[in-house]
């Protein structure tokens, strides 16, 4: 039986855990500074002579037809669904992955895993049968 954790202890552990992310945060600040300084220095170095022709949207050198945000048919929305379902599923793999072979789990988690893989495989097969995964 492990000792019950003291409230103070938990706070320290959490602080340790997040302190590693404070370095990540610092690096993010460094990165943002780098980009800001680069853009600032660039502003001093570069010429700025805009003409209406320069600011025109590029379209092979001819005047652009219609507007850039053209209506297009996004053909992959079906497997966008597929992706969202699968990705959410596989996120839950990670916490499971760290404990599944711990003593006392063994066979049970393995059966779970095959159930999980089975579901994904059937989903993929279903999408395949439905013709989502064939393109013309």
């Amino acid at each position: 039986m492990p000792e019950p954790e003291q409230p103070g202890q938990t706070v320290v552990v959490a602080a340790d855990y997040f302190s590693s992310y404070s370095v990540v945060g610092l690096l993010a600040v460094v990165g943002v500074l780098f980009v800001t300084v680069a853009f600032g220095a660039n502003r001093l170095l570069r010429p700025a002579v805009p003409t209406p022709e320069k600011l025109l949207t590029y379209e092979c050198g001819v005047d652009p037809v219609g507007e850039g945000w053209a209506h297009t048919q996004v053909r992959y929305y079906v497997y966008a669904f597929l992706y969202v379902i699968f990705a959410v599923d596989s996120i839950f793999l990670f916490p499971w992955a760290t404990v599944f072979s711990a003593p006392g789990f063994g066979a049970a988690t393995l059966v779970e895993m095959f159930l999980f893989l089975g579901f994904l495989a059937v989903g993929l097969l279903y999408a395949y049968k439905k013709g989502v995964l064939t393109w013309t």
């Binding site: 855990y17 590693s20 992310y21 370095v23 990540v24 690096l27 993010a28 460094v30 990165g31 943002v32 980009v35 220095a41 660039n42 570069r46 700025a48 002579v49 805009p50 209406p52 600011l55 025109l56 949207t57 590029y58 379209e59 652009p64 507007e67 850039g68 945000w69 053209a70 297009t72 996004v74 992959y76 497997y79 966008a80 597929l82 992706y83 699968f86 990705a87 596989s90 996120i91 793999l93 990670f94 992955a97 760290t98 404990v99 599944f100 072979s101 003593p103 063994g106 066979a107 393995l110 895993m113 095959f114 893989l117 994904l120 993929l124 999408a127 395949y128 995964l133 393109w135 013309t136």
Partner: protein
């Protein structure tokens, strides 16, 4: 005080690596591609075999005019290169290059999780650029980027999950501590899936349909000039460094080497990553660009099933030996 100095030093090293390694990979690409195609590549800048070519390119980029099309969504357009670039800087911080606490910028408990999540943000930069440019080519490029992200993120996640299962931890340093040489053959399928999916996520040839310079004129980057375009290029090469580093750490044993040289762990990491970077360049020279439907097909009908099979294999072996 010492702690602060230590952190500052680590940040500095990571930052310098972030600024130099992508250029080294870029220069290697110039030269390797050239020699594979029977050319010499850049020979002039800097004197010795054109070593300073990319520095010269950088100077040129910094002096070029910055054109934001009148139709574009100005703020998003200007912000996009930073969004594409900075995630790779953050990922470099957590990749361990040698054994122990001293050889990693900062070990983060959620390792793989953190890395995959942050790398996903990088793709947003291309999406922002594609949409904000208000250009038909860019829009096409952006849509293709989105399609590619959707299909290749999944095999990448699954392959990484297989390693987490093998090691019993998601921490990158923890994975390397648990590594044994026979993981190489055990996880080889996962390694291939991860590497290929990573290449596709970086939109490197032969998976460069979203940028396809000869068809849709660099896709999302069509309207970019000067420094902002340079930052997108830097992001691509920083992405190669990160992908090679991650594949090395997850699948090739990182700092473990055949003779177990303790002090030389970082040499092994660099060597393996460099070898992978060479393969990335090699693939670019070797294969023609995949068509959009071939891209999708490869992911959904080959990589995802392979990754699932790898997970099954990892699970069975792990339970049997424990």
């Amino acid at each position: 005080m010492n702690d602060a100095l230590d952190v500052a030093l680590r940040l500095l090293v990571v930052f310098v690596v972030f600024l130099t390694f992508p250029l080294i990979v870029g220069q290697a690409e110039h030269k390797v591609m050239a020699h594979m195609q029977g050319r010499l590549g850049p020979m002039y800048a800097g004197g010795f075999h054109g070593w300073a070519q990319l520095v010269a390119d950088g100077v040129k980029f910094a002096q070029k005019e910055n054109v934001v099309p009148a139709e574009a969504d100005r703020r998003v357009f200007q912000l996009a290169p930073a969004v594409a670039l900075l995630p790779y800087l953050l990922v470099l911080l957590v990749i361990p290059v040698g054994p122990g606490e001293g050889a990693v910028g900062q070990s983060v408990g959620a390792g793989i999780f953190f890395v995959l999540a942050v790398m996903g943000v990088g793709v947003l930069g291309s999406l922002m650029a594609g949409w904000a440019s208000a250009n038909k080519y860019s829009l096409l490029g952006g849509l293709r980027t989105a399609a590619q992200l959707l299909s290749y993120e999944l095999p990448m996640l699954l392959a990484a999950a297989s390693v987490a299962m093998a090691a019993g931890t998601v921490s990158l340093t923890g994975i390397l501590d648990a590594f044994e040489w026979w993981w190489l053959p055990w996880q080889i399928v996962g390694a291939l899936v991860f590497f290929v999916a990573g290449l596709a996520e970086l939109q490197r040839p032969p998976f460069d349909m979203p940028v396809a310079d000869s068809e849709i004129i660099f896709g999302a980057y069509t309207e970019y000039t000067g420094l902002r375009f340079a930052l997108f290029l830097l992001a691509e090469y920083a992405g190669i460094v990160v992908l090679c580093g991650l594949t090395t750490v997850l699948f090739l044993g990182g700092w473990h080497g055949p003779w177990g040289a303790d002090g030389l762990g970082w040499v092994w990491t660099l060597l393996k990553a460099a070898l992978l970077a060479f393969v990335v360049i090699w693939l670019r020279v070797t294969y023609p660009r995949l068509r959009e439907d071939q891209l999708q097909k490869l992911s959904w009908t080959v990589l995802v099933p392979l990754a699932l099979a790898q997970i099954a294999l990892t699970g069975v072996v792990k339970v049997v030996i424990s």
